[in-house]
Amino acid sequence: MSETMKTDGDPVIEITDLHVAFDGRAVLRGVRLTVAAGGPTVLVGRSGTGKTTLLRAMNRLNECLPGCATRGSVRLRLGGEWRDVYAPGLRPEELRRRVGMVFQSPNPLPVSIGRNMTMPLELALRLPAAEWSGRAEQALREAGLWDEVRDRLNQPAAALSGGQQQRLCLARALACRPEFLLLDEPTASLDYKAARGVEDLLLELAEKYTLVVVSHSLNQARRLARRMHVLREGGQVEAVEPEALADKDRLLAFMDELM
């Protein structure tokens, strides 16, 4: 992984003139955005401005929804070199493996906890079975879930609490050792305590991965963001100055005006 490590602050995602439409209805119109390595980089904006769509454009997940049309360029620094995500020869499966994602509501697969962890290792990474358990354990430890589930790996994932499920999904993404981690309001369906737990975790993970987080909550954005962008209706993206992030009152005023 060492060659893929970037110094904090170098750009690693470059989005230019991105248009996304569903069934002819434009959601993003000409978005420009540059994201630097590390983070977390937080995207905020009113509901309906297309934050989730923008996030999903980065790992081409929009294509899995019916009636989607994408135009423009999304370039990611993968394995040390710039790649056009929408280039014809690129395998979306491999891209998505390297760009992990956690959804708004926990989405464990309807299988056991253990199988949730190992299935992507077997199918997407094609790792030999001997390596599964080590990787899974490491990822579960990273997500701070290991001690809670080590004895119940054969139980259905649906039996976990909401916060545990979300950490399981995080661990599942981590087990594939991605270079990017996209998080779509990862704490939206969690209670306060569980949300704080996940937030702390994300701050730790930002040391190793490039994190892009969509958030609704100003407080959360303030706690998490190292950099922040506001997505406006119609698709302009405005960066929030770093000084503004530090000053709570200034940020509040700024956000009031924007949102």
Partner: protein
């Protein structure tokens, strides 16, 4: 680790091609059947011929080939059967969903599922020896009449109606239960004022499917409706349906006008069945999609609730009672004959089993024939149906997908007797063209049966896959799973129950069908099937034959024994499929070892 640049994997491409191929085969099947019907109807395409066929007299000896009495007979019979079955089905559903004691709900539903497994020929046999004499004595006429056939067809269509309605209510009702209860509504009020109006689509679908089932059946009308080619004046009159007509007349000279008029019958039958289906879809889309689309308003009177409760109780008593009488009679007549000699006649069982000694006067060859049929058609239909279902749910887009879906819908509207007619005509055509040795045989029957059950498998697979939440697909995609991995490792195992349900239905249908094999190679005596190109015996046909042609009372008893055996066989198949299903679910959910 696979590189980022590698194009879509070769395996993935092969899978996609295979799935596409399966859909293409479905389309070809439909094209072939329709092509046949149209081709053989061509001679009738002149005003003179058409006016001969579309007239009210059927008398081949006198040169009259009118099929209108049969067309009207079909519609009358199916319509009246639906008129009986639909309210009963609705009542049963209401009973199960809260108008009756909760304790009885599960057993009642289990009973209805059991009914789907009762072979048509068993109904026919019992009706011919129980219902027909009863109608004759209690009312008047010969007993072979519209009324008797309508009663039995209602029983045949009932499970379809109940299961569709039950499925719909299960979708709608849980969302309403707490809300309705918190508003102080009674269970009956909730069901009648909220759940049913929201289930308009299910109510319609149930009606249409029940109608199609009654319209397409050939055997019950053939066995108990009397078959006189006339317009009935009362429910106690004899009538002939299009399906029975095809079965009765297919035996004529294959170059005569009577023969080509059969294909007109087929086309008519197909047309009606398809129009009804199409009408349903139009109605559905006109009223807005979704399970909540089209709120139907029920009358507001207070009498509605007590009426519904009365209907629910009536159906909950009448349907099981009818079934108990029919099956009770079957067991009473059939049970004494059960034994090794029923299966093996006077041949030592071990000889027959191990050394293949020929069995006469026993059901062994027929049992084997039926098992072979089930096995062969499952081999053909299951991969094809499941693959095309997957293709349509997960891969196909745009026009190609719509075409395939349309074709399968068409195929689902083909009554079994028509499938038999197709098989028979196919063989005649093959013999006259490039394969003079072609003959009706086991393989042909299996092929036609496979085509008959293809839509079951297709729809089960497709609807189960499409019913899964989109989040599941997104989650898999986000993890970097390929499309086929997502389908084969996550979606299919989750949808497995439903798919297997389709397989069970299909197998049951193959095991019990008589109309298709009647025209494609089944015979009275053939011994155990030796090759795929041989003629064969099959249990349903043996029952049908013995019911009508028994030379002695003992042979009639054999028919009841055979019916009981067939019932056991279908029950066994259902049971095995059920076990398979639960086993599969267990294995998948626990996952591989994780230590």
């Amino acid at each position: 680790m696979a590189g980022l640049d590698a194009n879509t994997g070769r395996g993935e491409r092969i899978v996609t091609a295979l799935l596409f191929g399966a859909s293409a085969v479905c389309v070809l099947c439909v094209a072939a059947i329709l092509g046949f019907l149209a081709w053989f109807c061509l001679p009738l395409l002149s005003w003179r011929e058409l006016s001969v066929v579309l007239s009210w007299r059927w008398e081949p000896a006198g040169g009259s080939f009118g099929i209108l009495p049969m067309a009207v007979g079909s519609l009358l019979l199916a319509g009246s059967a639906l008129l009986l079955a639909w309210p009963l089905g609705l009542g049963l559903c209401l009973f199960v969903h809260g108008l009756g004691p909760r304790r009885l709900a599960r057993p009642l539903l289990a009973l209805v599922r059991l009914m789907t497994g009762v072979p048509t020929v068993v109904y026919g046999l019992v009706a011919a020896f129980l219902l027909v004499p009863f109608v004759r004595r209690a009312l008047s006429g010969s007993g072979y009449c519209w009324l008797a056939a309508a009663l039995m067809l209602a029983l045949l269509a009932l499970p379809t109606i109940v299961l569709v309605l039950d499925g719909q209510l299960r979708l709608v009702e849980p969302r309403l239960r707490l809300t309705a209860a918190s508003l102080g509504l009674t269970r009956a009020q909730e069901l009648l004022r909220l759940a049913l109006p929201m289930s308009a689509r299910g109510l319609r679908t149930a009606g249409v499917l029940g109608f199609s089932r009654a319209l397409g059946d050939a055997l019950l009308p053939l066995m108990i409706s009397g078959n006189a080619a006339q317009l009935p004046h009362s429910p106690l009159d004899s009538l002939r349906t299009l399906t029975a007509h095809i079965a009765l007349v297919v035996a004529t000279d294959s170059q005569s006008a009577a023969y080509s008029s059969l294909f007109a019958c087929g086309l008519l039958l197909f047309g009606v069945s398809y129009t009804v289906n199409l009408g349903l879809r139009r109605l559905g889309s006109a009223q807005g999609g979704g399970a909540t689309g089209g709120m139907t308003r029920l009358p507001a009177g207070r009498w509605l609730e007590p009426l519904a409760v009365a209907l629910a109780w009536l159906s909950a008593v009448a349907v099981p009672a009818a079934l108990a009488v029919l099956l009770g009679y079957l067991v009473w007549r059939g049970a004494p004959t059960l034994g090794l000699s029923l299966i093996f006649g006077d041949t030592p069982p071990l000889d027959a089993l191990l050394r293949g000694a020929p069995v006469f006067d026993g059901l062994w060859p027929a049992c084997l024939g039926t098992l072979w049929l089930v096995f062969l058609s499952a081999c053909i239909a299951v991969p094809l149906g499941v693959a095309s279902g997957i293709h349509l749910a997960e891969y196909a887009t745009g026009r190609a997908g719509r075409l395939a879906a349309f074709c399968v819908d068409l195929l689902a509207g083909v009554p079994s007797i028509l499938m038999g007619l197709f098989g028979f005509a196919l063989i005649l055509l093959l013999r006259r063209s490039f394969w003079p040795q072609a003959n009706t045989c086991l393989l042909l029957s299996a092929l036609c049966l496979a085509m008959l059950v293809l839509p079951y498998l297709f729809s089960a697979t497709r609807s189960c896959l499409e019913g899964l939440p989109r989040e599941l697909r997104l989650a898999c995609a986000a993890l970097g799973l390929s499309r086929w991995q997502t389908v084969s490792r996550v979606l299919l195992p989750v949808a497995g129950q439903g798919v297997l349900g389709g397989v069970i239905l299909a197998i049951g249908r193959v095991a019990e069908d008589t109309a298709v094999i009647l025209l494609t190679g089944v015979v009275v005596g053939a011994g155990t099937p030796a090759s795929l190109t041989d003629k064969f015996e099959a249990l349903p046909f043996t029952i049908y034959y013995l019911a009508a042609e028994h030379q002695t009372p003992q042979e009639l008893d054999l028919a009841f024994g055979a019916a009981l055996a067939l019932l056991c066989l279908t029950a066994l198949l259902f049971g095995a499929a059920r076990r398979l299903r639960s086993g599969m679910a267990r294995r998948w959910e626990s996952g591989r070892s994780f230590t």
